[in-house]
């Protein structure tokens, strides 16, 4: 089996199912954790409304546009492009139909091209912002530079594969690069901070539930969680 066939066949199925199962696992574990923790805290009055509102604000940070508006605009664009293009690109719809048998609506090639370029520009802008803005730079770890690049790579290689005239590599090798980089993203999604694609609501929930603990509970948390005094056999 040649490399591209392997990357498109077994490797694709393996990485794709790893992503799906891995993300599902995170959702299940987090839900399980929320339920367990809630059962063991004395304060059950979780403000679901506020959690929902904060999460929605987190997705579309319109109300916070006054600070660093360009960065936030780029961020929205970046996320929209990353979600829409891989799912609704006509070529990918073919894969959706052939694999799981889902018929999705598709976007026109012109629109897909424009959105891809905008996403790439937004991604590069965000990366630049992280490098040149002092506060961002000091808050960033190595993964914060690596992950955006890893996510941009399939987009860039896919764009170049669609436009062979601009591509520095032959079509097949560009396609191989595209497939492999996409599969790298599949693996990274459940194993790195990219897991926020499914866990962003839990972020707010866990913060809220942590506030349920009595201030200064400290060492008694274990006792609270277990329901028996410290040191006792369970």
């Amino acid at each position: 089996m040649d490399t591209l066939a392997f990357a498109r066949g077994p490797l694709f199925i393996a990485t794709m199912s790893f992503m799906v199962l891995g993300l599902l696992r995170h959702i299940i574990l987090q839900t399980h954790g929320v339920v367990r923790t809630l059962k063991r805290t004395p304060h059950q009055d979780v403000p679901w409304g506020r959690i929902f509102r904060k999460s929605a604000e987190w997705i579309v940070p319109v109300s916070h546009m006054s600070t660093a508006p360009w960065m936030k605009l780029a961020s929205i664009l970046f996320h929209v492009g990353l979600l829409l293009v891989p799912v609704f690109l006509a070529e990918h719809a073919f894969l959706w139909a052939r694999g799981p048998g889902v018929n999705l609506p598709t976007m026109s090639h012109e629109f897909a091209d424009q959105l891809t370029v905008l996403t790439l520009v937004a991604g590069i802008f965000l990366l630049g912002y992280r490098i040149f803005n002092r506060i961002s730079r000091e808050l960033s770890s190595r993964a914060d530079y690596f992950l955006p690049m890893a996510v941009i790579l399939p987009l860039l290689s896919g764009f170049l594969a669609c436009h062979p005239a601009w591509s520095p590599l032959p079509y097949q090798s560009m396609m191989l690069l595209h497939v492999l980089s996409a599969e790298l993203t599949f693996i990274l999604l459940p194993t790195t901070r990219l897991v926020h694609v499914v866990l962003f609501p839990f972020d707010r929930i866990s913060t809220e539930i942590h506030w349920r603990f009595v201030p200064g509970a400290g060492a008694r948390v274990a006792e609270t969680l277990r329901g028996t005094p410290e040191g006792a056999e369970v």
Partner: protein
């Protein structure tokens, strides 16, 4: 810690087995196993079913000793023995369910009785004995539950149930041996004997007891308990006696049959036989014969391991190694087969651990429950959302998330490659463009894209009434110029047009046979007595149908498989057209657009292969359709010079063939599917330099 690691390992193996089993259910046996017409069963049947059942014999032997012979000292290990029986039979049934051709018909022997079959008896015994095992095991969970009423009922019926279990077990173990008696001349003579039933039940009883000994020792080791060595020594001694008896019958039988002359002739089967005898009997018997060794746990464990391995090797020899040597093919199990074979016992192991940890399987096992360990105090860095609370769940789910994708990648793609769905489209009849049907509008898949075929014009050009047979090469019985679609029934799959059952029935009536299995008497009408009954070796259809069925019969053409409609029509038309293009100087006759209207606008292309048609909602995506058309074009031009249909089913080899046809694959259609993905055959060459470039530049 060792226990935890072992459980993780079992979980991993069980998951691999699960994915392989599910793949088998959806993709079929042919796509997931190395089984074929020559190799009708493999390691699932022999290791999991026949071997698993043999090792599970300990349950009934010890039940017999405790309940019938009243050997009370063996009672401490009766429960583990019953667990072995229950799990062994459960594993066997699972493997069998995967192994039979149509798993959803597993219940058929209950309703449709075939008392002539050994397997019919085996089925009933295994089914009933598995039920008996379940009843015998049920007190373990029941005594810990609230259902004390059910527990009392089970206790009451336990006596008759035990007797029933012993009877059933004796019956079917010997029957599994009898099953192989049918294969005269296939099994190597060192194993093939009329004593096979006796050999089977003796070796099963011996190895089954050793399996209980081994399991008890391993469990005690894993759970840090003291094993009841004295009891185990007694069981091992009893087992050694049975094994000696087994060895004795084997020797006697060999002497009796005069087979001792071949015991030293150096054939590999003979060497295998010796290895098996040494592992299965000589080593365990000798170890047990030494008092110091049989009273030590290490000695017992060694003897038991050898006996168990020897019994499995024996079943493997009788069922595969000494059996398929005449099969002319080599059987190498696929990864999926190995995964299931290993996965089922692993899953059984996990169930066993669950029983041991939650119910009173072992008397000597009772003790303080294991502590869950302290939970660390809350610190800002503590991952409250992760490991601290959810150790087991987190780890197990992580294992599943890693193992299942790998297994899917391994099994699903290889299965998909051979079962890739080609839509099974029934060919529709051509319609006439006018009442006289002079010009036919051929649209086999009814998608509105058609070919206009000037039927009358062809007829006139090639000689009127006499020319029909040029294209209509074969008729149905008592028919005249049968239409193409009567045999070439599907657009992209070949059709089996030989109704075997119908022929059997008609011949039975015609020849006046009577009786319960009268149809079996008709075999020799077409097949040669004593030879393997296959399509290729059977009498040619022409022999009987010369009168009522016109066919091009010189014996070289097979009449039981009609190629796909597209393949057949291309072969029929293109061959002639190409010839005319060359000889009559009409080059346009060899071009696609002679029949298929092909104008630059994409929407007006008349022939789109149904395999590569883009899904709904994508008709506007021009690039894909362009690609597809280019691919089709490339495929056709590559085949130029020969007709596209010629490398169709005609050169399928028989063994793989039937399996492939069953799965609905025509080579032509498969090529189209490949084409639609851009996987050109010469693609590897094209890509090689670029891959090198990538690697070097990295």
């Amino acid at each position: 810690m060792a226990l935890k690691r072992l459980k993780d390992l079992f979980f991993v193996l069980a998951l691999f087995g699960l994915v392989a089993g599910i793949t088998r259910m959806f993709a079929g046996l042919g796509a997931t196993t190395a089984l074929s017409d020559e190799i009708p069963w493999g390691i699932w049947k022999v290791l999991n079913m026949v071997g698993g059942v043999a090792l599970a014999t300990g349950g009934f032997v010890l039940a017999f000793a405790v309940h019938v012979l009243h050997v009370k000292s063996l009672k401490p290990i009766l429960r583990p023995a019953l667990m072995v029986a229950f799990l062994g039979y459960g594993a066997s049934c699972t493997a069998l369910l995967l192994d039979i051709g149509l798993p959803h018909r597993f219940w058929h022997p209950i309703v449709f009785w075939n008392p002539h079959s050994f397997l019919f008896e085996v089925f009933w015994c295994v089914l009933l004995y598995f039920t008996v095992c379940a009843i015998e095991v049920s007190p373990m969970p029941l005594e810990k539950s609230r259902f004390s009423g059910i527990h009392r009922i089970v206790k009451k019926i336990s006596g008759p149930v035990v007797i029933l279990g012993i009877t059933l077990s004796t019956l079917h173990h010997s029957s599994l041996g009898s099953l192989f008696l049918v294969s005269t001349g296939r099994i190597h003579e060192l194993w093939y004997t009329t004593w096979l039933p006796v050999h089977f039940i003796l070796s099963a009883a011996g190895a089954g007891m050793m399996a209980v000994v081994l399991l008890t020792l391993v469990t005690a080791k894993l759970y840090h308990r003291i094993p009841p060595t004295q009891v185990l020594t007694r069981v091992a001694s009893a087992s050694a006696i049975v094994l000696t008896l087994y060895l004795g019958t084997k020797v006697l039988d060999l002497m009796n049959r005069g087979a001792k002359s071949i015991l030293f002739n150096g054939q590999w089967e003979v060497q295998l036989f010796w290895v098996e005898i040494v592992i299965a009997t000589v080593i365990p018997i000798s170890i047990t014969a030494v008092p110091r060794l049989r009273r030590s746990n290490a000695g017992l464990a060694t003897a038991a391991s050898f006996a168990v391995a020897g019994a499995l090797l024996n079943r493997l020899d009788v069922g595969i190694l000494a059996y398929f040597r005449s099969g002319e093919t080599t059987y190498i199990p696929t990864l999926a087969e190995i995964a299931v074979t290993v996965g089922i016992p692993s899953a059984a192991g996990l169930v066993y651990f669950y029983f041991v940890e939650h119910f009173d399987v072992f008397d000597f096992q009772r003790g303080p429950a294991a502590s869950r360990g302290p939970i660390t105090a809350f610190q800002p860095q503590t991952r409250v959302w992760g490991g601290t609370l959810l150790n087991d769940l987190e780890r197990m789910s992580l294992i599943a998330v890693i193992v299942i994708p790998v297994a899917l990648g391994l099994f699903l793609t290889s299965a998909r490659a051979s079962t890739d769905e080609v839509p099974r489209t029934r060919v529709a009849a051509p319609t006439g463009t006018d009442g006289a049907r002079d010009v036919l509008r051929m649209d086999g898949d009814h998608d509105g894209n058609y070919v206009l075929f000037p039927h009358q014009a062809h007829r006139d050009r090639w000689g009127g009434e006499d020319s029909c047979t040029l294209c209509h090469h074969m008729d149905k019985p008592n028919d005249h110029q049968t239409a193409c679609r009567n045999c070439h029934r599907y657009m992209n799959q070949p059709t089996s047009i030989f109704d075997h059952e119908l022929h059997q029935k008609r011949l039975t009536v015609k020849l006046g046979y009577a009786g319960s299995l009268a149809t079996n008497l008709t075999c020799t009408e077409c097949h040669v007595e004593g030879e393997a009954k296959r399509g290729e070796t059977a009498e040619d259809c022409v022999t009987c149908h010369r009168e009522n069925m016109r066919m091009s019969g010189d014996g070289s053409v097979r009449h039981d498989l009609a190629p796909a409609y597209t393949d057949a029509l291309h072969a029929n038309c293109v061959g002639c057209h190409n010839k005319q293009a060359r000889e009559a100087g009409k080059p346009h006759l060899g071009r696609c657009d002679t029949c298929h209207e092909c104008t630059p606008g994409i929407d007006t292309v008349t022939r789109k292969d149904s395999v590569v048609r883009p899904p709904a909602g994508m008709e506007t995506s021009r690039s894909i359709i362009h690609d597809t058309l280019h691919t089709i074009h490339a495929l056709h031009t590559r085949k130029a010079g020969g007709s596209p249909g010629q490398d169709g089913p005609a050169d399928l080899r028989p063994a793989r063939d039937t399996a492939m046809v069953r799965r609905g694959i025509a080579f032509g259609a498969e090529a189209n599917v490949r084409g639609s993905r851009g996987e050109h055959p010469d693609f590897r060459k094209a890509l090689a330099p670029t891959i090198k470039t990538i690697i070097f530049s990295i």
